[in-house]
Symmetry: C2
Subunit: 536 residues, 2 copies
């Protein structure tokens, strides 16, 4: 069953062994677990619903809680400490576009804020209800989940936007196709959520970001239905898809999306390559990304992430042997791990891998074969469970991500990590920070940093620590010219930093655009953009 106060399925545990815990203790000090609140305790604090009754709206407190929070660290604190604060006043599970329209009319009539809800995996506060806000309605879209059309000739499939990743892939796989969109949240996130937050999957090098596969769809907006037809390409003015992408629920409710699919790959493999140091590794991956080779994935961990991952993996003897081999090959304490993926028709994939390995050899890369790659693939959605395990031992894990052009990639990585390490100095706390480049482009790369630090054991103090850390790393991103998000979106947590990249004129343009579709400003207020007249 899905955890109500953590990540994923409660039957899945990622155990931390004694070596892993010793590593964390040495890095940030001994952790102390807190006694988590129960669901009943958390629900007890939820006030009565302020919504006028409606046949489609359920106001059960547990349901309001489950739909009212995402997976950001503040969301976790609220759940684990049982201090959930404001939640939606009700939840609807529409089963048709007509029902969505009915709910929007209801919301306009009663001046209710609408929060569209997909899988609830946001780590940026997309689902947050602000304290003191007018009544809010969560529209949970997961009952809109069926494949409605499959056009094999055009390689297009149309789904209800609330379809979860595994369900979408299963429906396509039955016909020999895949969307190929595999963000780490894949198991619990939805197609619609990917689109409105501009998600990127682990194999985007082959399949593209969600922007490249979103071909058209239907959005129910307060001003009417926006239907976006599919074209392979068009020069006819503004691309309506781009109004929906990254709109984070501000212009309406995406009910249906048509996506570009691919034939299931004949062959797929992931291979690990180690480099002696960051400089060699970064040069190699930049060359790989610019070589236009048909790879499906490139993912480079820095020295600290490589060390952390190898230590937490748990297979002490195996990892020891690997490290001795790498050391003998010149990859010592500073070694950085690259994961290379190839997918597709076998001959082409094997040739691309061969070319890629030739590039890595030119930069002292040591290829250790595909067993580590297979392990990575097997655990691709499991690593998130580390967050649950760390919590049990009194540690919190958070992440931040950006993207920058190549000349600033290393500078950004160092600046974000340093900002994190310094952020809790006033509290006498250490932060263990490590980074990978999750997505590589000819122009630059995403920079994805993970932080581990200790739970304070007090809700207010933990929120304060998180704010300090989040503020410090976000400012480092802005200062070094990065985008405030490469793949997680803006929500409320990144909204204060958006103007740095859009400018006042750009922010105004977004307001003008959303205002056209949502003249009464009922859609997801406070998310993505701060409200001009203040949040109500």
């Amino acid at each position: 069953m899905r955890r109500w106060n953590g990540w994923g399925d409660d039957a899945i545990e990622f155990a931390l062994n004694e070596d892993a815990l010793a590593f964390l203790r040495a890095r940030v000090g001994p952790g102390a677990a807190i006694g988590d609140a129960t669901l009943a305790q958390a629900c007890a604090a939820i006030g009565p619903s302020r919504l006028a009754p409606h046949r489609l709206i359920d106001t059960t407190p547990a349901l309001r809680l489950q739909n009212g929070l995402g997976q950001s660290l503040p969301d976790w604190f609220k759940l684990r400490y049982g201090k959930v604060g404001a939640v939606p006043d009700g939840v609807a599970f529409p089963e048709s576009a007509e029902q969505v329209r009915e709910l929007l009319h209801y919301a306009e009539r009663f001046d209710v804020a609408v929060i569209p809800h997909g899988g609830g995996t946001s780590v940026a506060g997309h689902l947050t209800v602000a304290a003191g806000m007018r009544p809010a309605l969560s529209i949970n879209l997961t009952r809109l989940c069926r494949m409605r059309a499959l056009d094999k000739q055009a390689q297009l499939a149309t789904f209800g936007a609330g379809v979860f990743g595994p369900d979408l892939e299963a429906q396509l796989r039955a016909h020999g196709y895949t969307l190929g969109h595999f963000p780490q949240s894949f198991e619990y996130s939805t197609l619609g959520g990917w689109i409105v937050t501009r998600s990127s999957g682990q194999q985007s090098l082959r399949y593209g970001r969600i922007e490249q596969v979103f071909a058209g769809g239907t959005v129910e907006t307060p001003a009417g239905t926006l239907s976006i037809p599919t074209f392979p390409a068009s020069a006819a003015g503004t691309d309506l898809r781009e109004m929906v992408l990254g709109s984070e629920g501000r212009l309406g409710v995406l009910t249906e999306a048509t996506v570009r699919i691919s034939k299931l790959p004949e062959y797929e493999a992931f291979h690990a390559v180690f480099f002696p140091n960051w400089a060699a590794a970064e040069t190699a991956v930049r060359e790989l990304a610019q070589a236009k080779l048909p790879l499906s994935m490139l993912r480079l961990s820095n020295q600290l992430e490589t060390l952390t991952m190898l230590t937490l993996a748990g297979h002490k003897r195996l990892i020891g042997a690997l490290r001795r081999y790498l050391s003998w090959r010149g990859c010592g304490a500073d070694t950085c791990m690259l994961m290379i993926g190839v997918s597709g028709e076998k001959a082409g994939a094997v040739a691309a891998l061969k070319s890629a390995l030739a590039v890595t050899r030119g930069h002292q890369g040591v290829h250790v074969g595909k067993s580590m790659g297979a392990k990575w693939k097997q655990n691709r959605y499991r690593n998130v469970y580390l967050r649950n395990a760390a919590w049990e031992h009194g540690y919190v894990i958070d992440t931040v991500e950006t993207a920058v052009d190549w000349p600033r990639v290393e500078i950004m990585m160092l600046a974000v990590e340093q900002a994190a390490r310094d952020a809790l100095g006033g509290q006498g706390e250490r932060v263990h920070a490590y980074t990978h480049l999750s997505h590589l482009y000819a122009q630059g790369a995403s920079v994805y940093t993970t932080f581990v630090y200790r739970l304070a054991g007090d809700f207010d103090e933990d929120m304060a620590r998180w704010r300090l850390l989040k503020g410090a790393v976000s400012e480092a991103i802005v200062e070094h010219g990065g985008t405030i998000s490469h793949q997680h979106g803006v929500g409320v947590d990144h909204a204060p930093y958006l103007a740095a990249e859009k400018g006042a004129l750009g922010i105004g343009a977004m307001h003008a655009l959303f205002g056209h579709f949502d003249p009464q400003a009922i859609m997801n207020p406070g998310k993505l953009l701060a409200e001009a007249g203040g949040l109500r």
Copy 2:
């Protein structure tokens, strides 16, 4: 010198030999040339400028004429018959963003319409001044043409937006790079023009459409300067680049653009393959487009275009031998020609070509080697000159293009051609129509149809014929679910058909967006969108 009333350089002639003329006569009847107006005659009809004097604005009639029309057939008629009608009241050639801002302030102060001008190659009426409109100022951007930055590490280059294709490529080539954007207008169109009309180059399969290479830039808008920073990718809300792409001068003047460049390819080749019929050819190119092979170009001519091109090429003996060979290999009267391009690192390009030829062989494709491909490359920008040559013999040539998903590609091709053939039946005129798929995608293809028919010899009658034909083919596009443009943009000629794909809600969103940047509505009125309150 550049032709003032036709395409390209007046030193370049594309001669039609007797066989070619006999072919045209047989298809649409004997043509009769008209006596073209002289530049002096055309200028004589231009009224006095209505603009208040400004040091940056030149009101010389010849200059106003040269900047007031593009390359659409109505534009040609106006020039050739010496009935130019309304032209801009003045032309400015700003040399800096500051001067552009100064001109925008001037335009706002005096309520002057502003028409941004790049290379003037529009075939959709982007430069047209409507009769009875308030005074209009053409801002010619071609003095903003220098490379301002080159970042080899991020493979980014920044140019003044008025740089012409050959100049841009020469500046990059000096450093070993290319943009790889080669529309047929390449020699006379500009980077800024490509961006604001969503241009697509012949090798977009490798280098991407202009949307994929436009990384950021600066737009001077009446509401202020919009600066778009470069990121390799971003999930931070609405993509500001997408507000500029396809905006056709409606939100401001693009002064500077940063583009994603590539290393000059080590190897490049174009190969011709013939198929016995359309069905085999279309199946083959769809399979090729969906195979994700690293090709740089796919361009498929239908039977009538193949016939026309081979006949007009002029090398009677050579072509005769080719046809006998093809016929012996099973490609007779219905044969269709495919051009395949590969570019890049030699081993990869050769391997991709080999894989592609294997696919074509599976569909009865006959590979005739690369000499025809080399010829195609040599003439890639020469075929447009056919328009000049045909005119001299009393024939006009026009084109229309769209894009649709695969299941409708053939239906669209047949419908557009048939609509064209029927359009002038009431006039007792025949239209020779032929088609190629210029850009191929996994999802579908562009459908690019050329028409040849006879000049009437009378301005009004020629305009009437064009209107009939344009209306008929545009309606066929809309009826069969195509976009009104795949690569030429909307301008005034396609504007009436835009609502069919955007919907009233989408059109309203575009108005809201542009209105934010241009509250006084001075920017390129009447283009792309019809004015809500009528054109003034």
